[in-house]
């Protein structure tokens, strides 16, 4: 049985399948394993960041600092690997610790100072990008052999597609995100907060801890995305990943999560990422469309999905009889 709550997820999935079929009928090469592998590899960092963003949005918040944190992580890694002798794994741990703490700090400010997430994470966005600049304005190459070793881990499919470690890491992150969202108390608390902060408080959801946790996860996953990005480009660059937060938000919304919070699926975000990647691939294949069409198509998709969600909400409220005394919301 299809529950009404899972309908957006199904629509996202169907959109992806239909879009892929259409693309493939125009360009048969779209079916090659290269394209599939590219979708995973090229979107790995975005996907990982989007998992964190899903949690933030599910709780009814927003995190604008994601792209900047990715850039900061990359630069930090590159600089620390260049200037010190520590092993990349230790550096990874350090980056994850810093970005998680950064996210937690933003969550703390949001909760304890009762400031809107929009503004707090906006300041966080400036701060992280600025910190990246201070570390280095150059693109700093990473030349550690451990990086080469990591980059050489891939499975090569028959027709040339390379399924790389980072793509697998993204899939793992999504799986972990799904488990975290649906199978842990923390995840349930996130949904609860998205359903209504006051009610969640009354039902015993530890708001402070959860808020800090949510932004810490988003920060930490942005850090992880930064690590993946540094593997992707073998460098740290303070101008990298500008505007990734918008792509992540778009993927989350296209994936069927309500921006008001409370409803949605981590798995939906995965398909949101794939749909956006597919659009980009199609535009490259076409080769004549201005790539700015990507933005326009994503905007149109956003619009479609928002309308769809609106329609669904409307349909479900119609089914219930109006509560006495409450006139239709204006």
């Amino acid at each position: 049985m299809i529950r009404s709550t899972s309908l957006p997820l199904i629509v996202t999935l169907a959109t992806f399948v239909i879009a892929y079929a259409l693309c493939a009928s125009a360009y048969p090469a779209m079916l090659s394993s290269r394209v599939v592998a590219n979708l995973l590899t090229d979107n790995a960092f975005l996907g990982i960041a989007a998992v964190g963003m899903t949690f933030v949005i599910l709780s009814g918040g927003i995190d604008l600092s994601v792209g900047s944190v990715i850039a900061f992580s990359g630069v930090f890694l590159a600089v620390i690997l260049r200037d010190t002798g520590i092993h990349p794994l230790a550096a990874f741990a350090l980056v994850l610790a810093i970005t998680t703490a950064f996210g937690a700090a933003m969550g703390g400010i949001i909760h304890y100072l009762e400031m809107p997430p929009f503004i707090v994470t906006l300041a966080g966005m400036f701060l992280a990008r600025g910190a990246a600049y201070v570390l280095s304005v150059d693109s700093v190459p990473i030349t550690h052999e451990f990086y080469d070793w990591l980059q050489d881990i891939y499975w090569k499919a028959p027709s040339g597609g390379r399924f790389r470690l980072t793509g697998a890491l993204m899939v793992l992150t999504f799986l972990a995100g799904i488990v975290l969202a649906h199978r842990t108390r923390f995840g349930q608390n996130v949904y609860a907060m998205g359903g209504g902060v006051q009610t969640a408080r009354l039902m015993g959801v530890p708001l402070g801890r959860t808020t800090i946790g949510i932004y810490a996860i988003s920060g930490g996953l942005s850090g992880l995305a930064g690590i993946v990005f540094s593997l992707y480009t073998s460098a740290g660059y303070s101008l990298a990943a500008v505007g990734v937060e918008l792509d992540a938000i778009a993927a989350v919304v296209i994936g069927g999560t309500l921006l008001t919070g409370g409803t949605g699926f981590v798995a939906g975000t995965f398909f949101g990422i794939l749909i956006m990647g597919l659009i980009q691939t199609y535009i490259v294949f076409d080769g004549t469309l201005s790539s700015w069409w990507t933005k326009i198509v994503i905007g149109a998709l956003l619009f479609t999905f928002i309308l769809l969600q609106k329609g669904l909400t409307w349909a479900t409220t119609l089914r219930r009889r109006p509560a006495p005394g409450s006139p239709m919301p204006s």
Binding site: A26, Y27, P28, A29, M30, S32, R34, V35, N38, T41, D42, F45, L46, Y133, S136, V137, D138, S139, V140, P141, I142, Q151, S159, G160, G161, R162, F229, Y232, T233, S234, A235, Y237, S238, L239, A240, A241, V242, G277, Q280, T281, I283, V284, F285, D286, G287, T288, S290, S291, W292
Partner: protein, 318 residues
């Protein structure tokens, strides 16, 4: 795209083969974006060059993002194009995707900027020398000042971008050892006219209008913005403040012709001509081009016929 080409592309992707019919080439071009007039002109010229040679050019604008460029490159490889032109947004991080191209036997030619990767991974690089450009600008200013004291302000490109870094380095090399020249202020103008104007305004305020003798801008767009700021401050650009910039876009020629600017170093937008020449030769009979095809960095000053150059360039989409 024609149906035939579609089928061809599909066949190539499923069973990669290197060569295709000579006169039916499909070339992918991954452009950085359209952040400046020069960049737009380069795109126009590349499209013109491809059209003139009957090449099917697949154009992808990366909106200044490396991740988009890597995606585009992988898309080209998956599609099985015959060759790839890449104008890299940064120097680092291309090894993996270039390896994939090499494995698929698709030659890659770098345009405009080079990368930090093993040279065997690409066919050749068609670039100007960014450091050299800066150096030419610096040396020109040294000779122009002829021993007089000069306080210079510098409008940097986007913080962290390689032209900004290289052109700064080159300029500093150019003026090195000449104690009469001193860079007193340096700020980023993001390569845009708007920021060029804003930052120049603050330079004028901070230093006092009479205390600036020369402006070095990392591109012409910022210089054009700065010229407006100088005029609004009641000074005569080109006379009260000597202005040298890089790119030689039409508006810079116009400014020089009007006496509002003193010199610009041309960065030719025609990188695609030599690049496609080399590519076609390679695809035809495997001619290995030189690893670096350097374009000319020509200096334009008031002694050139700038109006003529302006007329010639203005239709290129700068």
């Amino acid at each position: 795209m024609t149906f035939k080409a579609t089928l061809l592309a599909g066949a190539v992707a499923l069973a990669p083969v290197a060569a295709a019919a000579d006169d039916d080439l499909t070339i992918g071009f991954s452009q950085i974006g359209s952040e400046s007039g020069w960049r737009a002109a380069e795109t126009t010229v590349t499209k013109q060059q491809a059209e003139a040679r009957g090449i099917d050019l697949k154009f992808a604008d990366a909106q200044q993002k490396q991740e988009n460029q890597i995606k585009a490159l992988r898309g080209f490889i998956a599609q099985g194009v015959d060759g790839i032109l890449l104008a890299p947004v940064v120097a680092t991080g291309w090894d993996d995707v270039l390896e994939e191209a090499q494995e698929a036997e698709i030659p890659v030619i770098l345009m405009d900027r080079t990368v930090d990767a093993d040279p065997s991974l690409y066919l050749t690089a068609v670039t100007s020398d960014l450091v050299h450009e800066g150096k030419v600008a610096g040396e020109w200013l040294v000779s122009e000042m002829d021993g007089k004291d000069c306080r210079i302000v510098e409008l940097q490109g986007t913080t962290g971008s390689s032209p900004a870094i290289d052109r700064k380095t080159g300029f500093e090399q150019g003026i090195a050892g000449h104690g009469n020249l001193e860079i007193v202020r340096s700020q980023t103008g993001d390569f845009t006219r708007a920021q060029g104007k804003v930052v120049m305004e603050s330079f004028l305020k901070a230093e006092g209008p009479g205390n600036i003798c020369a402006l070095y801008a990392h591109n012409d767009d910022m210089a054009v913005g700065a010229i407006q700021a100088i005029k609004e401050a009641g000074l005569a650009p080109g006379k009260d403040i000597v202005i040298v910039a890089i790119d030689a876009v039409p508006d810079a020629h116009l400014a020089i012709a009007n006496g509002e600017m003193n010199a610009t170093i041309e960065l030719t937008p025609d990188m695609a001509g030599p690049a496609l020449d080399a590519l076609q030769a390679y695809l035809q009979d495997g001619t290995e081009p030189a690893k670096w095809i350097q374009t000319e960095s020509r200096l334009y000053t008031a002694s050139d016929d700038n109006m003529a150059v302006y007329e010639q360039k203005k239709s290129l989409g700068y």
